[in-house]
Symmetry: C3
Subunit: 348 residues, 3 copies
């Protein structure tokens, strides 16, 4: 985690570069390097605040701010009309969490602890919820790809809004489920921590505000550079959206997952990966659809690559969570699937 | 359940309307409202008879008559050559049972009882059987959609008949399994009831005969009205087949499922939903294919929407049955998937 | 198993027929009948050697030679440029193992022993590994079928090689997993056998060498006859590849699976079916891709029928392995799915 702190140096560098009119591609790279530690800081700030706010509001804050970086980057991409980037980064965040983060966690943890166990029940609740959420989100797209698209374009907007409303309703209901009606399922996790705040409330809030502002600025640099970086490196916008942006937005979270797995807290590592995917689908995706109404309405119709990747990822996480155990070979297999997907996207 | 009895008033109303040459759309609505309580009566009649016939024949009667309404409606649709309506109502009955009925049962039961448990073993047998049955039924269609259709039309008839024979053979074998070779798995369920007949055998048989005859008459009204109701409400025949007809045919069953869940008999609610889906696939679908040979042979090639809906429904029920527990949030998720599917079909 | 020995008579018959310039179709049939017992002999030879080599090398030998027949037949098909036959026989070997062999084992075993149990943990490791492997192998094809193929042909070669490297790496890692880091999971199985060698080491090696040479010769007869047998029987090359060749190559293994199930050793039957499928995907498929570089590079892009069959088979085996139990009805269902697939391929 300390390495991340040193990366903060890229923030002033990116400002100087912008001032000196550096090329868009360079701005993309510098912004990417700046966002990684900022996302980490934002996560830390949220966690500190939750010590003061109590577990309920804290859980809500963590849930909502956990993917704030993703949301801010997507907001600027949306503003520029880069719908394909936005949609592919939603799918990419899910597969990144479920294959890359979980794979790396299981590999790192498994090498150190042989066979790791986790609370099957909690993970089953989340992973079956992820199945529902992905299925719900994908149904409009699954139907669309079998129909004449031109004919239906206008109707898709209203279908997308309907799906977005359903998703956000389930998000709110799931918060009620975990903080009110069924909070006992989760209690074990929270108690065992027993930590106290390192920062004062004032510092925590300041960090949160400043990192949010800086992420917003850097995201604008990043998004402006997408077009030129795709040209200069010969990548597709789709590849940037589905592989690169999710890694930038989630790097801090990823490292936490791996650290937890190495401490043999596989439950926490799984909750990070699956919980973060759930928030992307139930909260970030619908919010982006609503935000898009400010500019040009964005439909929630994923392309077929995104669909396949999403469904594959969800089937695998449901299988993995099934037996309450993990080992290094499972980690390798998850990573292998991720790299095969990434390589396939790369050659497209 | 009492509300259903009051709905019987729609039978004479529909007869008067027919006599007064009411429009087809009005006949459709009146017939729909009449079939709902008649299907309920038929179910009650079958159950009463099974007290006299003993559990084996009773189980067989329940299984066979459980979807009689569906079968009768489809017979008349078949006679009129409405193949698309017939096929979509088969798929619709499965997704209705697995998503709508089960979702409503889990929601209603979960709100009252927090976490409900069920016999994992029995449900696993049925739900994995449902997976097999759906996969078997869908394979011809899955292959078809990737091939030039014109070329193969004649061959599909024989493939459909082959699949129908396999399905009905498995249906018979599954009856042998549950009533002879492995009846001990199911014994617990049956014993715990310990009820006695409310009706005399004569009354039960009369009710069964009369309700069957009336359903047949109303089904003819219903089917004749499909064309005009789709026009006047701007719905597609496909939507009528996949959403509306299954609700009409299964409303009585649905309400039983919810009532059982609220009595904390989640096993029974699950058996109604999954068992009814199984009968649709293993018994109703093949019988309809055989019956179609009397008119124009119908192939068992589902369209891609039906395939997706079927496979999604089956994957979800397999996931849900996996942990032997249910709660209100799972119910909400099942309902959400159902409504997203219905909304997608609606805009098609 | 004794019947197999008598079939060795077809070897001299096939040689005489070749000498007498019999038609290619007859050579195909005679070669098929010769390969069945030879594959059985090769399996026996490998097993005998493993008594002398110790369990680690023995396990490796069994794994590697277990699908040697498949590999040799495919090598000659590759040499003749019959890519479609090679690819469909890879998919066919997996579905044959998972549906036909497992189905027959569960049916035969279940009729004798009612409900059979197996070590859920070991089977879960293999079956979830099979899910990963199939998903990894299918991803390039899944993406391909949604893109303009002409555009990308050259790039697919490098993607195929990348996937092949990943697969073989996972194969090696899985050997390390089962023989070194996690060998305790599997220990129970091996100990319980407690058998000794029937043959001298010299005899075992001789049998292995001779049967390999004879299989190679017969495979050349077989492959040369594919074209004329498809014409004379009106079958497609695809049907020969996906149904007939896998049955020829695995008949000996199949009979072992059924015998083990009847001895109530369901663990062994499952390991044969799933383990053999895993070797096909992780070892045979990549080796064939590498070998194809000697002639014309073969891509690993399955067609859509193969994809559907593979994914269906894997989903089913994951479902079946889930509860640690099997019965005759599950066996019937697996066989039913296999026959429906075979019938669909037949009419294509």
């Amino acid at each position: 985690m300390k390495v991340l702190k040193y990366m903060l140096i890229f923030i002033p560098i990116s400002f100087i570069a912008e001032f000196m009119h550096a090329s868009s591609s360079i701005m993309f790279i510098l912004a990417a390097l700046s966002i990684v530690p900022l996302a980490g800081l934002m996560g830390e700030g949220t966690e500190e605040i939750s010590f003061y706010s109590g577990p309920k509001i804290g859980g809500f804050l963590n849930g909502t701010f956990g993917n704030a970086t993703e949301l801010i980057i997507s907001f600027f991409a949306l503003k520029q009309g880069l719908f394909e980037v936005v949609k592919s980064s939603i799918a990419g965040a899910v597969i990144g969490n479920v294959l890359l983060v979980l794979g790396a966690s299981m590999l790192a943890g498994g090498l150190k602890h042989k066979t790791q166990t986790f609370n099957k029940k909690v993970v089953e609740v989340s992973s079956s919820m992820l199945l529902f959420a992905v299925v719900g989100l994908c149904i409009p797209a699954l139907f669309t790809h079998t129909v004449d698209v031109a004919l239906l374009n206008t109707r898709y907007e209203s279908l997308s809004i309907f799906v977005a409303i359903v998703m956000i309703a389930i998000y709110i209901l799931s918060l009620i489920f975990s903080f009110f009606t069924h909070k006992d399922i989760y209690s074990a996790d929270i108690e065992e921590e027993g930590l106290t705040a390192k920062w004062s409330l004032k510092k925590a809030i300041s960090v949160l505000v400043i990192s949010t502002v800086l992420i917003a600025i850097e995201s604008e640099f990043l998004v402006s550079g997408i077009e030129s970086i795709t040209k200069s490196l010969g990548l597709s916008e789709f590849f940037v959206g589905i592989i690169i942006i999710p890694i930038i937005g989630n790097a801090a979270e990823h490292s936490t997952g791996v650290v937890m797995a190495m401490k043999n807290k596989m439950d926490v590592a799984l909750e990070i990966a699956i919980g973060s995917s759930l928030q992307i689908i139930l909260f970030v995706a619908p919010v982006l659809i609503f935000l898009s109404l400010l500019f040009t309405p964005m439909s929630i119709i994923f392309n077929q690559f995104e669909l396949i990747a999403l469904i594959v990822a969800v089937l695998i996480v449901n299988r993995v969570s099934n037996d309450g155990e993990s080992n290094w070979l499972e980690g390798v297999q998850l990573l292998a699937v991720y790299f095969i997907i990434a390589a396939s996207f790369f050659i497209l």
